[in-house]
Symmetry: C2
Subunit: 75 residues, 2 copies
Amino acid sequence: MLKPEILDPQGQAVQRALPRLGFDGIADVRQGKRFELEVAGPVDDAALARIHEMAETFLANTVIEDFTVKVEESK
Amino acid sequence: MLKPEILDPQGQAVQRALPRLGFDGIADVRQGKRFELEVAGPVDDAALARIHEMAETFLANTVIEDFTVKVEESK
Protein backbone atom coordinates (compact mmCIF):
# COMPACT_ATOMS: atom_id res chain seq x y z
CA MET A 1 0.00 0.00 0.00
CA LEU A 2 1.07 3.60 -0.54
CA LYS A 3 2.49 5.15 2.62
CA PRO A 4 -0.05 7.29 4.51
CA GLU A 5 1.79 10.50 3.61
CA ILE A 6 1.71 9.73 -0.13
CA LEU A 7 -1.26 11.07 -2.11
CA ASP A 8 -3.45 8.30 -3.59
CA PRO A 9 -5.47 9.79 -6.49
CA GLN A 10 -6.99 6.40 -7.44
CA GLY A 11 -8.27 5.84 -3.92
CA GLN A 12 -9.60 9.41 -3.77
CA ALA A 13 -11.45 8.94 -7.07
CA VAL A 14 -13.11 5.80 -5.70
CA GLN A 15 -14.00 7.57 -2.45
CA ARG A 16 -15.58 10.52 -4.28
CA ALA A 17 -17.56 8.21 -6.55
CA LEU A 18 -19.11 6.13 -3.74
CA PRO A 19 -21.76 8.62 -2.50
CA ARG A 20 -22.90 9.24 -6.10
CA LEU A 21 -23.38 5.47 -6.42
CA GLY A 22 -25.40 5.29 -3.23
CA PHE A 23 -22.70 4.07 -0.84
CA ASP A 24 -22.30 6.28 2.22
CA GLY A 25 -20.29 5.98 5.41
CA ILE A 26 -16.84 5.32 3.92
CA ALA A 27 -14.36 7.77 5.45
CA ASP A 28 -11.32 6.90 3.34
CA VAL A 29 -10.26 4.65 0.47
CA ARG A 30 -6.69 3.66 -0.40
CA GLN A 31 -5.81 1.46 -3.35
CA GLY A 32 -2.78 -0.77 -3.52
CA LYS A 33 -1.28 -3.92 -4.93
CA ARG A 34 -1.33 -7.49 -3.77
CA PHE A 35 0.88 -10.40 -4.81
CA GLU A 36 0.04 -14.03 -4.17
CA LEU A 37 3.20 -16.14 -4.16
CA GLU A 38 2.87 -19.90 -4.18
CA VAL A 39 5.88 -21.35 -2.39
CA ALA A 40 7.37 -24.65 -3.57
CA GLY A 41 8.27 -26.51 -0.38
CA PRO A 42 7.79 -25.63 3.28
CA VAL A 43 7.04 -22.05 4.35
CA ASP A 44 9.66 -21.94 7.10
CA ASP A 45 11.52 -18.96 8.55
CA ALA A 46 14.14 -19.11 5.79
CA ALA A 47 11.47 -19.03 3.07
CA LEU A 48 9.68 -16.16 4.81
CA ALA A 49 12.91 -14.19 5.16
CA ARG A 50 13.55 -14.68 1.44
CA ILE A 51 10.03 -13.53 0.56
CA HIS A 52 10.44 -10.50 2.80
CA GLU A 53 13.67 -9.59 0.99
CA MET A 54 11.93 -10.16 -2.37
CA ALA A 55 9.10 -7.82 -1.37
CA GLU A 56 11.49 -5.17 -0.13
CA THR A 57 13.88 -5.19 -3.07
CA PHE A 58 11.63 -6.04 -5.96
CA LEU A 59 7.86 -6.19 -5.45
CA ALA A 60 7.35 -2.99 -3.47
CA ASN A 61 8.74 0.49 -4.07
CA THR A 62 9.70 1.18 -0.46
CA VAL A 63 10.28 4.87 -1.16
CA ILE A 64 6.53 5.36 -1.45
CA GLU A 65 5.00 2.02 -0.39
CA ASP A 66 4.64 -0.05 2.77
CA PHE A 67 4.18 -3.79 2.60
CA THR A 68 3.16 -6.69 4.82
CA VAL A 69 3.79 -10.41 4.30
CA LYS A 70 1.03 -12.82 5.33
CA VAL A 71 0.96 -16.61 5.17
CA GLU A 72 -2.23 -18.30 4.00
CA GLU A 73 -3.03 -21.95 3.40
CA SER A 74 -3.51 -22.63 -0.28
CA LYS A 75 -7.05 -23.55 -1.29
CA MET B 1 -7.51 -11.22 -7.63
CA LEU B 2 -7.89 -12.50 -11.19
CA LYS B 3 -9.82 -15.77 -11.31
CA PRO B 4 -7.56 -18.85 -11.57
CA GLU B 5 -8.63 -19.52 -15.16
CA ILE B 6 -7.74 -15.96 -16.29
CA LEU B 7 -4.21 -15.43 -17.62
CA ASP B 8 -2.12 -13.06 -15.47
CA PRO B 9 0.74 -11.69 -17.60
CA GLN B 10 1.97 -9.34 -14.83
CA GLY B 11 2.23 -12.19 -12.34
CA GLN B 12 3.95 -14.36 -14.94
CA ALA B 13 6.49 -11.62 -15.66
CA VAL B 14 7.29 -11.37 -11.95
CA GLN B 15 7.58 -15.14 -11.64
CA ARG B 16 9.98 -15.39 -14.60
CA ALA B 17 12.10 -12.53 -13.27
CA LEU B 18 12.58 -14.02 -9.77
CA PRO B 19 15.17 -16.75 -10.59
CA ARG B 20 17.25 -14.22 -12.54
CA LEU B 21 17.25 -12.03 -9.43
CA GLY B 22 18.37 -14.92 -7.22
CA PHE B 23 14.99 -15.89 -5.74
CA ASP B 24 14.15 -19.56 -6.20
CA GLY B 25 11.38 -21.80 -4.91
CA ILE B 26 8.36 -19.71 -5.96
CA ALA B 27 5.96 -21.94 -7.90
CA ASP B 28 3.46 -19.28 -8.96
CA VAL B 29 2.85 -15.52 -8.73
CA ARG B 30 -0.50 -13.77 -9.20
CA GLN B 31 -0.89 -10.02 -9.02
CA GLY B 32 -4.09 -8.27 -7.98
CA LYS B 33 -5.62 -5.20 -6.40
CA ARG B 34 -6.37 -4.32 -2.83
CA PHE B 35 -8.63 -1.60 -1.45
CA GLU B 36 -8.51 -0.35 2.13
CA LEU B 37 -11.85 1.20 3.09
CA GLU B 38 -12.06 3.15 6.32
CA VAL B 39 -15.60 2.84 7.65
CA ALA B 40 -17.20 5.77 9.49
CA GLY B 41 -19.12 4.19 12.35
CA PRO B 42 -19.47 0.60 13.49
CA VAL B 43 -18.51 -2.28 11.19
CA ASP B 44 -21.69 -4.29 11.76
CA ASP B 45 -23.40 -6.81 9.50
CA ALA B 46 -25.25 -4.04 7.63
CA ALA B 47 -21.99 -2.18 6.90
CA LEU B 48 -20.30 -5.40 5.80
CA ALA B 49 -23.21 -6.26 3.50
CA ARG B 50 -22.96 -2.79 1.96
CA ILE B 51 -19.20 -3.16 1.45
CA HIS B 52 -19.73 -6.58 -0.11
CA GLU B 53 -22.21 -5.07 -2.55
CA MET B 54 -19.81 -2.21 -3.27
CA ALA B 55 -17.00 -4.68 -4.03
CA GLU B 56 -19.23 -6.77 -6.24
CA THR B 57 -20.77 -3.95 -8.27
CA PHE B 58 -18.01 -1.40 -8.38
CA LEU B 59 -14.54 -2.29 -7.05
CA ALA B 60 -14.10 -5.71 -8.65
CA ASN B 61 -14.80 -6.82 -12.19
CA THR B 62 -16.51 -10.07 -11.29
CA VAL B 63 -16.36 -11.33 -14.86
CA ILE B 64 -12.63 -11.88 -14.46
CA GLU B 65 -11.91 -11.23 -10.77
CA ASP B 66 -12.67 -12.87 -7.43
CA PHE B 67 -12.71 -10.82 -4.25
CA THR B 68 -12.72 -11.30 -0.49
CA VAL B 69 -13.71 -8.81 2.21
CA LYS B 70 -11.67 -8.81 5.43
CA VAL B 71 -12.12 -6.70 8.54
CA GLU B 72 -9.00 -5.28 10.22
CA GLU B 73 -8.62 -2.98 13.19
CA SER B 74 -7.32 0.42 12.12
CA LYS B 75 -3.81 1.24 13.33
